[in-house]
């Protein structure tokens, strides 16, 4: 998922007043949140304690007040309202309120999938997973209806169509790789997949050519599995790009975009480009069509999304006003204001992604593993935490599976694998020099001629973070060349283009797609996942053992074993220092005083419209 632009790079600088400094390397840890979502303890820092109401773990989901209209502020506009195309945080917020994927995470869990459109989570025990992990059988709720104008009962064919259209170039879903193991998926182009069969209206069966049931089941929580009526959408899918989701759409969730009931057209009504969007109740939604474990209460009557505006104005409007929440990351000053004056109106959600420094594993000085280890050892992660605003919003990262994901604890939890270059979050020059020597520089400093090319984003606190890494490198004798550019340019023109051979990208980050650690490690560190443009394996990591380990983990059917396998992959990544982890992020979100907002722990704390209510 793509987060708001400001958020990925810019957390809070001004919270300096709350003054968190990492000191020493003794590990007295204090937890700032309960387990479940994952702990965010800073191994060797004073933690600023969260005030009451700030930790969304353990929030109470049911029994709240019904009714009212919520105003949601978003600085950026929607990108794709078609669940077959979305990957932006704002799109997600609307998708999950208006569509029903097969499986969903409840707000209170980052890793425990529950059935949504489906009736049960498939396991080997209940016969959902068979054939050695190559066949998945899912049953769906029998009486779910589409919203007007389609208004008919959803069938398994609608789920199949939803997935298959992802391959249609006019839809171009970015997550199709997760379904690559489904037979016929690779060559679908929008037509039927041989590997999906629908023996009856409430059953859908996936035939995989590899035992990747775990992966596929996780992927079936993505918006793309929300059913789409073929008779309604197929004509729109002929347009390039499809007009399903830009002109008209239907919903299966508790809410829908306000639209013309005869045509389903919402453009101009439920959505005004660049201005606002309106969600109203879906008249065809039936609250009883859920299993007991997951039941969205849908308290609100209406949700207004207001697009645009200035973050420093919106913050006070939300905090001092009523009935509103901000979907973006609040501005620095606003977080400070909220923390000090409105503590019950701000939440810090752990497990909201991570940041790391991508190092070019194939070209230049960083192709040498010991040089990478040296750079890691020299890097001052505590300074980065300070730059991000202290322990409220970040903890030093020590490996690549971040809190909330399966495998986090198995891979070492907060402290991570205890290899010499990882143990000191403040950076340790002596250790670093040791590895430089091992790399073939007897003096402990770099003596080659290469100039390290560093490209970072130029907004928020990114320049300062780049500078921290730069000092680490220069202390090892490297000459560097730093370029700071617009964040999207950084990704699309430099770091995401392997041919550019950028040595280091210190302001890249990742947010998973679902709880399976594959989504955190695969696209980013798997060799064959490297693509010539829009590449996300920024370091061009292509280690045969790691590749093989990932394939093996991907094909492990048993969930516990799979989790352990991925944790081992993570340890290998740390061992090979493929990149330098910087921080595990907590996401700050603000709400008005009379809003009982519920944060989705699995979605960087995004406000969940189906569970939020007004007091």
């Amino acid at each position: 998922m793509r987060k708001y632009r400001a958020a990925i790079v810019g957390a809070i600088v001004g919270v300096l007043a709350l003054g968190v400094t990492a000191c020493g390397s003794s590990s007295s840890s204090s937890s700032t949140s309960k387990s479940g979502g994952g702990s965010t303890s800073t191994p060797s820092a004073q933690s600023v304690p969260l005030k009451s109401g700030e930790n969304p773990v353990g929030q109470s989901l049911y029994g709240n007040k019904k009714g009212g209209t919520l105003t949601v502020y978003s600085s950026e506009d929607f990108e794709h309202l078609d669940p077959g195309e979305s990957y932006f945080e704002l799109d997600y917020a609307v998708d999950y309120a208006t569509q029903r994927p097969l499986f969903s995470y409840p707000p209170n869990s980052a890793s425990q999938l529950l059935p949504d459109l489906a009736t049960a989570l498939p396991t080997t025990a209940n016969g959902g997973i068979t054939n050695g992990g190559k066949t998945i059988t899912v049953h769906i709720q029998p009486n779910v209806k589409f919203s007007p104008p389609v208004s008919r009962v959803v069938t398994s064919k609608d789920v199949a169509f939803a997935l298959e259209r992802g391959d249609n170039p006019n839809v171009a879903n970015p997550y199709m790789t997760y379904f690559a193991s489904v037979i016929g998926a690779a060559t679908g182009k929008g037509g039927p997949w041989a590997g999906i069969s629908t023996p009856n209206n409430t059953t859908i069966v996936f035939h995989l050519n590899k035992p990747q049931a775990q992966v596929v089941i996780g992927a079936l929580s993505l918006p793309i599995t929300s059913p789409v009526p073929k008779e309604f959408a197929a004509p729109m899918d002929k347009h390039a790009p499809t007009t399903y989701g830009s002109t008209a759409i239907v919903a299966t969730g508790p809410y829908m975009l306000e639209s013309n009931p005869k045509t389903g057209v919402f453009a101009g009504l439920g959505y005004q480009t660049g201005k606002s969007a309106t969600l109203v109740r879906n008249p065809n939604w039936d609250a009883s069509t859920y299993t007991s474990a997951y039941k969205p209460p849908a308290y609100l009557d209406r949700i207004n999304v207001e697009i645009g505006g200035d973050a420093s104005v919106i913050g006070p409007q939300v905090l001092k006003g009523s009935d509103s929440v901000q979907l973006d990351t609040p501005a620095n000053s606003v977080v400070k204001l909220a923390y000090e004056k409105y503590p019950s109106q701000i939440t810090f959600t752990p497990g909201s992604g991570d940041h790391y420094i991508a190092l070019d594993n194939q070209h230049g000085p960083f192709a040498n593993v010991n040089v990478r280890r040296a750079a890691w050892a020299a890097e001052d992660r505590a300074a980065i935490i300070k730059e991000r605003g202290g322990s409220l919003t970040a903890a030093p990262a020590t490996h690549f599976i971040y809190p909330g994901n399966d495998g986090y604890a198995q891979s070492g939890g907060a402290a991570g694998p205890q290899v010499p270059w990882n143990t000191d979050v403040n950076g340790n020059l002596a250790v670093a020099e040791k590895y430089m020597k091992a790399a073939g520089y007897p003096s402990g400093k770099y003596t080659g001629n290469a100039v390290i090319q560093i490209v970072g984003a130029n907004n928020g606190n990114s320049p300062a973070i780049v500078q921290i890494f730069n000092s680490a490198l220069t202390s090892l004798g490297f000459k560097t060349h730093v370029s700071l550019v617009d964040q999207s340019v950084m990704y699309s023109k430099y770091c995401g283009v392997p041919k550019q051979e950028i040595d280091a990208c210190p302001t890249v980050g990742w947010i998973r797609d679902f709880a399976n650690p594959l989504t955190t490690l695969y696209v980013t560190f798997y060799g064959p996942a490297i693509v010539p443009t829009n590449n996300s394996n920024w370091g061009q990591v292509n280690n045969p053992q790691i590749n093989a380990a990932m394939v093996a983990a991907e094909n492990t059917v048993d969930q516990t074993a799979a989790t352990q396998a991925w944790a081992n992959v993570d340890k290998m990544l740390v061992n090979q220092a493929v990149a330098i982890p910087e921080d595990f992020d907590n996401q700050a979100n603000i709400e008005s005083g009379n809003v009982d907002g519920i944060n989705d722990l699995w979605d960087t704390g995004s406000w969940d419209f189906m569970f939020t209510s007004l007091k």
Partner: protein, 320 residues
């Protein structure tokens, strides 16, 4: 005069084409994100990126793209489609233009009504406490960043977050036809923001001009004729002093009609400025191209208006 106007208009069209070409070049040369890649999103396959590139017409050389774009405008009055929302650019601009017009026209009226009398009175009462105070206040406003003043006004007077909740705050703008009352009250603070800095500039400008004019010989002649001092000041003095101010006003209007980005952002008024700003961030090139052309057109038109108007104001100026 008619020939002059026609000539200027023709040159104006040439200029617009040049501006359009320059915008194309800027987008290609400067490191902006490739819109196809941005649209395709994270980790898209090359096939998808290629598909989007073709769909957006980005696979052609920029000359072909430019030619297609010009053809679209001249033959079909089609300004292209947003890369993101596929909405026609013309529709988006037409949708946002009323807000910018409302903002501009109201602010202009306010600052003219405020700035001109203050400038005249300051000049007449030069050196007095009144003059010094007025010019001091004006200097303060001239130095204020628009953005800062906007935030300040909101923090004081916005009904939702202000200390003295008097006026609607940010994001309260509605169209004139939708609710005239709310339209008006929601624009008061934004108008004040724009007018404050501009009125300060205009009052200082007019004061300076008028002081200079009052030292001219024809003022002495006017007094020698026995005219009342008021007539001397207004009919003879202000009439001369105001001519350069009118010129500047025309150009300022032209510039503002292209969108007052800062004010629109802070008050969340969905005008041309905000549209342009967001489009730049999203590398939504057709929209940027459209808004740039629009802004350039306004400036060119106002330039012509000002130049022609000047000939009416100052009879010594003659165009052929």
């Amino acid at each position: 005069m008619a020939r002059y106007i026609i000539r200027r208009i023709l040159w104006g069209i040439v200029l617009l084409i040049l501006v359009s070409a320059l915008t194309f070049v800027i987008f290609v040369v400067f490191p902006t994100a490739n819109p196809a890649q941005l649209r395709a999103g994270r980790n898209a396959s090359p096939a998808i990126i290629r598909h989007i590139t073709v769909e957006l017409g980005l696979n052609h050389s920029i000359f072909v793209q430019f030619w297609d774009y010009m053809k679209g405008i001249f033959f079909h009055f089609n300004f292209g489609y947003s890369y993101y929302s596929q909405q026609p650019v013309l529709t988006l601009i037409a949708d946002r233009l009323p807000a910018t017009l409302s903002l501009t026209i109201g602010a202009v009226i306010l600052w003219v009504v405020a700035g001109i009398p203050i400038g005249i009175i300051s000049a007449i009462k030069r050196g007095t406490f009144l003059d010094r105070t007025a010019m001091g206040v004006a200097l303060t406003f001239v130095s204020m960043p628009v953005f800062w003043l906007a935030l300040l006004l909101l923090y004081f007077f916005a009904s939702d977050i202000g200390k003295f909740p008097l006026l609607p705050g940010a994001n309260s703008y509605v169209g004139l036809t939708a609710d005239p009352g709310k339209w008006f009250t929601s624009l008061i603070l934004p108008w004040l923001v724009l007018a404050a800095t501009q009125a300060a500039i205009y009052s200082r400008l007019l004061r300076g001009n008028l002081l200079e004019v009052m030292g001219e010989d024809y003022i002495r002649t006017a007094r020698a004729k026995g005219l009342s001092e008021r007539r001397v000041i207004w009919h003879h003095g202000v009439r001369s002093a105001i001519t350069p101010v009118v010129t500047v006003l025309g150009l300022d209007i032209g510039g503002l009609l292209g969108g007052a980005v800062l004010t629109e952002t802070v008050f969340e008024i969905h005008g041309i400025g905000l549209l342009n700003f967001n489009a730049i961030n999203e590398s939504d090139f057709p929209i940027v191209q459209g808004t740039v052309l629009l802004a350039a057109m306004f400036i060119i038109v106002m330039n012509i208006v000002v130049d022609v108007g000047y000939a009416y104001l100052d009879p010594r100026v003659k165009y052929s």
